[in-house]
Amino acid sequence: MQNIIEVNKISYNYPERSLLFDNLSLNVREGEWLALIGQNGSGKSTLARLIDGLLVLKSGAITVDGLPVNDENINEIRNRIGIVFQNPEDQFVGATVEDDVAFGLENRQVPREQMHEIVEKSLKSVGMWQFRERIPANLSGGQKQRVAIAGIIALHPKIIILDEATSMLDPQGRNDILQLVRDLKEDNHLTVISITHDIDEAAGADRVVILNQGQIIDENTPDGIFAQPQRLKQIGLDAPYPAKVIEALSRRGITSDKQYMNDEELIAWIKQLVSRM
């Protein structure tokens, strides 16, 4: 598969802070779901902002869909990337649901006649069309995130970045949003980067990259990453549920040669244990 994002030996630091990224490189393949995990302050969100040109690199280069991220390409880059941010409240610009979806279109000077059609289609695709006249104060956090996603879909991006987009939602809202993004990814052949410290969210990805203090310390399939639950704990992340079960069983003298299995494997193993004995 082709790389849609190439991050090449970048360095960055916030003003008056020490270097956060030093020579960091990372490629994102077209059409994959990449989970970027790490604790707060590890640089996950900063990386997303650098990719979208919201912050300016100190050195190195980033290309998105073949375009180098720079002043000249900034509009093109932002046409290709949609970001859903953490706080549902702070990305709702419009006075009502439909005005908010239209905001990005207005910025790109899309003619009015086209806008109405696009807004309707986008809101329907996230199931919020019947709420189009609501004001943000009368929406739940999950509904606001849906509107944010509609605002992104309206611009036909190639890449969606979820920047801890579900961390302020209740469990139900979280599952709803992830399912929605999965469906949209299929329908629109999107590339998804999900920045999260929710291990369950990461489990659904094609590939997981662990960021710790500005460095990529591992990248692998979810199963490969989760095979080292101790390591996840060390850098302040949670072990996935099956790993906790395996660990607890081993403390009771029931050991496996694997440190991690996914749900199905674990069930099969336990079944085997119970029937074999």
Binding site: P15, E16, G53, D71, I74
Partner: protein, 197 residues
């Protein structure tokens, strides 16, 4: 790409206007009633905006307060004073704009002279607040001394001493309030915004 901080400045202005709308509609954070007086703390908001974002933006925030005062004098007046004097846009808007101007100019002049930031902010706040009071007083005098035509046709000439004393007595505690509170609020905010505007 927008100039660094331009969008932030734009949104900060929007937030300050939102806060002022809030302060004009919720007494608890807009006005402190003391006996028969009711001193406004909105002038402190204008001063804070001025020091954080500069004189021009402070004047804009002050102007927003002025326009709100003007509209409210018709739609939802809070005192007889408002119905009589603030229905005149010159009285309701100009002094508010000048809070920002005077506070901004004062702060720029003093900030290097005093080692402690809070001193220059405090002085700028007191002068800004007094500007409002003095100008409202002065403009009332100018406009109504001669019984100029006005909306409710109240005979203000006779009322003049009363109006002037109300505005005057409110003005002193207002200025003190501004001087005390503005630095306490501005300093943590400056810390938050450091280097981002």
């Amino acid at each position: 790409m927008p100039r660094k901080g331009q969008t932030l400045r734009f949104n900060l202005l929007a937030m300050f206007i939102a806060i002022i709308i809030l302060q004009t509609s919720i007494p608890l954070i807009g006005y402190i009633p003391i006996g028969p007086l009711s001193i406004t703390i909105i002038s402190a908001t204008v001063v804070i905006a001025t020091i954080l974002m500069g004189t021009l933006d402070g004047a804009i925030v002050g102007g927003a307060w002025g326009v709100l005062t003007f509209i409210r004098a018709f739609v939802w007046p809070t005192s007889p004073l408002a119905t009589i004097v603030f229905v005149n846009p010159v009285v309701s808007v100009v002094p508010r704009i000048l809070i920002g101007v005077v506070a901004g100019v004062t702060y720029q002049a003093l900030r290097k002279r005093f080692k402690r930031q809070s001193v220059s902010i405090s002085i700028a706040a007191v002068l800004g607040s007094l500007t409002n009071t003095v100008l409202v007083l002065g403009l009332i005098y100018v406009f109504y001394r001669a019984n100029a035509p006005q909306l409710y046709q109240v005979n203000i000439k006779e009322l003049l001493p009363y109006l002037l004393s109300v505005v005057g007595t409110n003005g002193i505690p207002e200025a003190i309030f501004c001087g005390v509170v503005a630095p306490l609020i501005t300093l943590p905010l400056q810390r938050m915004l450091k280097g981002r505007l």
